[in-house]
Amino acid sequence: MTTNNADTTEQISTDVVVIGAGPCGLFAVFELGLLDLKCHVIDILDRPGGQCAELYPEKPIYDVPALPVVTGQELTDRLMEQIKPFGPQFHFSERIDEIARLADGSFRLVSDQGTVFLTKVVVIAAGGGSFTPKRPPLDGIEGYEGTSVFYSVRRIESMRGRDIVVIGGGDSALDWTLNLQPVAKSLTLIHRRDDFRAAPHSVEKMRALVAEGKVRLAIGQVTALQGDGKNLQSVTLKTADGEETLVANGLLPFFGLTMKLGPVANWGLNLNENLIHVDTERFETSEKGIFAIGDINWYPGKLKLILSGFHEAALMAQAANRIVFPDKKVMFQYTTSSSSLQKKLGVR
């Protein structure tokens, strides 16, 4: 398997684009692969697993058939192994922003990185939606986003000479503290406690910079922002000693990720309470050729279980097959006995 890190002009043709590399998206690759459909899989996270990887990699799951207990990470690893024979192409840290139908009924998808996908079938397996950085509930923060408030930094140079405040105690907060300190006019790291979840060597480096007077570490919380509504001038820092105003024109808050439906909402699909309506024969949306499986879909009796998503993937694959290969004679086969399926799986 390979990972494509797209440049802006890349154009990819494929049978199926799977949006979301969680368990259902991964298993969809398996079911589609058995039917000879080639997949590209896109995920906003930098690794496969979706919620299993992001929310509970080490936590046990007890309701996957035949696995009395499995962690989110183990389940992901096993699925990755299971789909290996089908050579899916992964596009991590990327999000599909646009879907347009072409004259022949196929689709043109564009990612936030500018990658263009031409595909006959789209499978939305986006779970609870895109993982997006949590926005601290500070009054007026939206107005400062992009000018003074950032949840990631694409160009370190853009932060040069700024009075920077980083909030958080994990790897993102520590990494950006270390990366931005050399270009910042001043850098303050704010965390609610003097205990960090980040890699020990990052914490050591940060503490060394604090000892040298190059970084200020403040134990407390940011409670308010001040500025003209677009350009931040200062933040209110609340510590055990009271409140102070801290000059800042760059604020990077790291409070983890949350799931937002994101661009899916704009694709003209039949939605209800942020879930995509599908039928229970093909798990197809209101748009022919666009399917939705796993936590993101809804139908009468829907249960948000991994095993339900697996079932949905299998039925979806049959319908996708009829779209990609309308003339192919379909014969249902079992992996246990079919020599052609075993050949595809590389076990024969």
Binding site: Q51, L55, Y56, K59, G128, K134, R135, P136, P137, G168, G169, G170, H191, R192, R193, D195, R197, Q221, T223, F255, G256, T258, M259
Partner: protein
């Protein structure tokens, strides 16, 4: 059964009864208590079931574990009395527990 009182930021309160052994988050969800989102479903993975334990109940309800303390980093306006309600098991000793729901859960 144990009684648990949830106090909203505006001062309104709701007392629910819940089985011993459930979590405070589950008691809230079962009774549609507002402001307890529990996005991750109780896996101690999101911090959207954040509550403030009433001072009188701090000793009885104990301290957060390291994992919970780590996850509280993702909550907003964390205080000494902060807990994630999905990590608070209801015991007979917590019958009468009072918790406050934060103004913002994110």
């Amino acid at each position: 059964m144990a009684k648990i009182t949830f106090i909203q930021p505006d001062g309104t309160s709701q007392t629910v009864t819940a089985d011993i052994g459930l979590t405070v988050m589950e008691a809230a969800k079962l009774n549609n208590v507002e402001g307890i989102e529990a996005e991750c479903g109780g896996a101690c993975a999101c911090a959207t079931c954040h509550v403030y334990v009433d001072d009188a109940w701090r000793a009885a309800s104990g301290k957060p574990t390291d994992m919970e303390e780590d996850m509280l980093d993702f909550a907003f306006d964390v205080r000494e009395s902060s807990r994630l309600s999905c990590q608070m098991k209801i015991t007979a000793a917590l019958d009468g527990l009072v918790v406050r729901v934060p103004a913002k859960q994110f």
